[in-house]
């Protein structure tokens, strides 16, 4: 895994799409100014949260679809193991704690005759301490829920490692 860390970017997935990096390169930023989710919804991405995009190896669209769902399970499992909280997954790819959104995954594929390039963007609200009023009741962070400071790099590495394992299993 090659980790490229930035202080601030528009979106880690936008950066990943413009670069010609090798598979399993991870673009990680402390904040995003234009973080987005599915259907171009915006993703609140201030400092404190964990925002990264993984450049995936070439794969069939069916395997990528499976991998995206597995990534939600992987992320939820890692949250559960590290923080002893009970996350739940709202399919396709949002993670909730106590009925509030804590994380989301967006896989984007660039397709010609076949899949040319795929990026999996993951946003996890780790150390966000305060939300704007419009998000207060629908979003939460691991710090708010557990009172503990999260080591973003440790969690990022665990998630990427486990996604890599899952891809090996499904593409056998």
């Amino acid at each position: 895994m090659l980790l490229k860390k930035y202080k601030s970017v528009s979106s880690t997935s936008i950066v990943a799409k413009k670069m010609n990096y090798k598979p399993w390169t991870v673009i990680w930023s402390e904040e995003q100014t234009l973080g987005y989710g599915r259907k171009n919804s915006s993703w609140f991405s201030p400092k404190g949260g964990l925002y990264f995009s993984i450049i995936l190896p070439k794969n069939t669209i069916q395997d990528l679809q499976t991998l995206t769902i597995l990534a939600s399970f992987v992320t939820a499992k890692i949250i559960k193991e590290n923080f002893k909280v009970e996350p739940f997954i709202k399919l396709p790819n949002d993670i909730f704690i106590n009925q509030k959104k804590v994380g989301g995954i967006l896989t984007e594929n660039i397709i010609g005759q076949d899949v040319k390039f795929s990026i999996m963007g993951i946003g996890l609200d780790t150390n966000i301490e305060k939300y704007p009023k419009e998000l207060e009741n629908i979003a939460t962070s691991l710090k708010i829920e557990t009172g503990k400071q999260v080591n973003n790099e440790k969690i990022l590495k665990q998630i990427v490692k486990e996604i890599k394992n899952q891809l090996k299993i499904i593409s056998k």
Binding site: N40, Q62, Q65, N109, I110, V115
Partner: protein, 126 residues
């Protein structure tokens, strides 16, 4: 003779054997046997056992079922290689469909927010 062939994204091992006046073709666990009448004549097995891929460069088809979220081009518009043509939101992913070559958009068969099935023709190119 063993051949590794990729059919519809799946790797297949095809084994061809000769013996006792017959030609056997094994694909996965299935085996097909052909009688060689003259014992000498070659029988073209490959042509009948491997379907040709129907790839048309002139159409853009939906690679997966989903909803067309954005159409980036207009009819009669020229496009470059790797230009975004449409964006398709499948249940778990956003897919940007790009052109593999340069040309002109002949017609657009879908609208934004339209549901499509896998294999549906979205755009015709020329």
């Amino acid at each position: 003779m063993k051949l590794n062939i990729n059919i519809k994204g799946k790797k297949r091992i095809i084994e061809i054997k000769e013996g006792n006046g017959r030609i056997k073709v094994k694909i996965g666990k299935k085996e097909f046997s052909f009688k060689d009448k003259n014992g000498k004549e070659d029988i073209s097995v490959a042509q009948t056992s491997i379907p040709k891929k129907k790839f048309s460069k002139k159409e853009i088809k939906a690679p997966i079922a989903g909803i067309i979220t954005k159409i980036f081009v207009k009819e009669k518009q020229a496009f470059k290689k790797n230009q975004k043509i449409v964006s398709l939101s499948a249940m778990k992913m956003e897919n940007e469909i790009v052109s593999d070559f340069q040309g002109t958009i002949k017609s657009i068969l879908v609208k934004e927010n339209q549901k499509v099935k896998e294999g549906d023709i979205l755009v015709i190119l020329e």
